[in-house]
Amino acid sequence: MTATLDTPAQAKAKPPLFGKEEKKALIDPMWVNNPIAFQILGICSALAVTTRLDKSLVMGAGVVIVTALSNVMISLIRNFIPSKIRIIVQLVVVSGVVIAFDQVLQAYMYDLSKQLSVFVGLIITNCIVMGRLEAYAMTNPPWRSFLDGIGNGLGYAWILAIVGAIREVCGSGTLLGYQVVPQSLYAAGYVNNGLMVLAPGAFVLLGIIVWVQRAISGYSEK
């Protein structure tokens, strides 16, 4: 990234590692174009796995890894994929990455994998993953696709983390398994909010987050 970039011809042959496009691919989906808040994608899993923060974090990490890796792979072979069967090919690649991730979880984080159970497998059907492959990786080079995957994964993950944290504190009085609501509060008559451990609680929270995010980012229905 030094003198080689001076001549236009060489700059074209070797684009900068973090040019404007790259930054856009990484940063946009975190806020302006957030997959959950803006595009309302991946809601089902956001509702299902966010009863506790650790589950949300692992799920978020899973989606980051899966979107990034499958974006890269599809981008690498994008010129060879017959367009007739491109969706199926994307599915094959996504399934492969997800199953591999599930196997790793089962081997190294058995407790969490038990709790996430079927939802890890369901990353395959997460609209964010397929959406990025079809909309981005099919037409962009690998590095940029990788950043786009990371960006969208993180955009999904941070919202999951917030929902997970609030649900765990309000619903179980703990955070990452540690008691945060003091015992004295329970003694004074405080009770955990049962709604927060159920899906409707997540719905309400998610609605509020989308509302706040859209109010700040200035989104308006066209």
């Binding site: 009863t51 060879f80 994929i81 017959p82 007739k84 090919v89 094959v92 089962q106 081997a107």
Partner: protein
Amino acid sequence: MDTSKNSYVLAFAVGITAGVSMLLAVAANALRPTQEAAQQYDRQKNIMLAAGLLQEADPRPRKEIEEVYKTRFKEHVVDLTTGEFADAKYKPSDLGGIKDAAERARYRDVYESTDELGKTAAWVMPISGKGLWSILYGFLALDASGATVQGITFYKHGETPGLGGEVDNPKWKAMWPGKSIYDDKGEVYGVRVKKGKVDPNIAVEKRHYVDGMSGSTITGNGVTDFVKRDLKAFKLFLDRLKAKG
């Protein structure tokens, strides 16, 4: 290259499927030993939880916990038709592999927890049965004479979190220790999950019942039923413990 030709499409589909499955097969094979070890460790942890030798979210490293299990637990297989050990014939890990259904139903695994001196401190037996949505799998620990509950734990279930899923709640599980499994006539009574709260003024409730979990009557009834059923299955073995005192 013409990527729309049928022969190319076919070749591409076959190629990518074969490639991905090959990679997955390699990954699954490489990870299998670690996965099996993780499952076994999870089982051991739950046996220890039931016996009270481990706390929920125990901070000790895995190696240390495994060491405690190795020194403090003896694994047995009980022949349910005689109540005797059949340790010479099977190990607990063999039971799942028995093909003949009648033969498989005849044996069950039991874990003997010992104190520092090697004396029996508790018997941990597997329990399982239907709740509302799912089959619950867990362990029930009885004291050395097999008459009183020492602890209970579930390591796998699919009940509703916050309702039936409260079987995992340490506060609920803490109500089990001390409950008697025999009625005054010495028959197996089991431990029952009440609908509502236990009234400590009623002797039979104090002796045999634990509080219900609100909003999960069916899970509670399921637990009541299969705890009794599994205790009855172990009857001859329990008789032997009772005779020994």
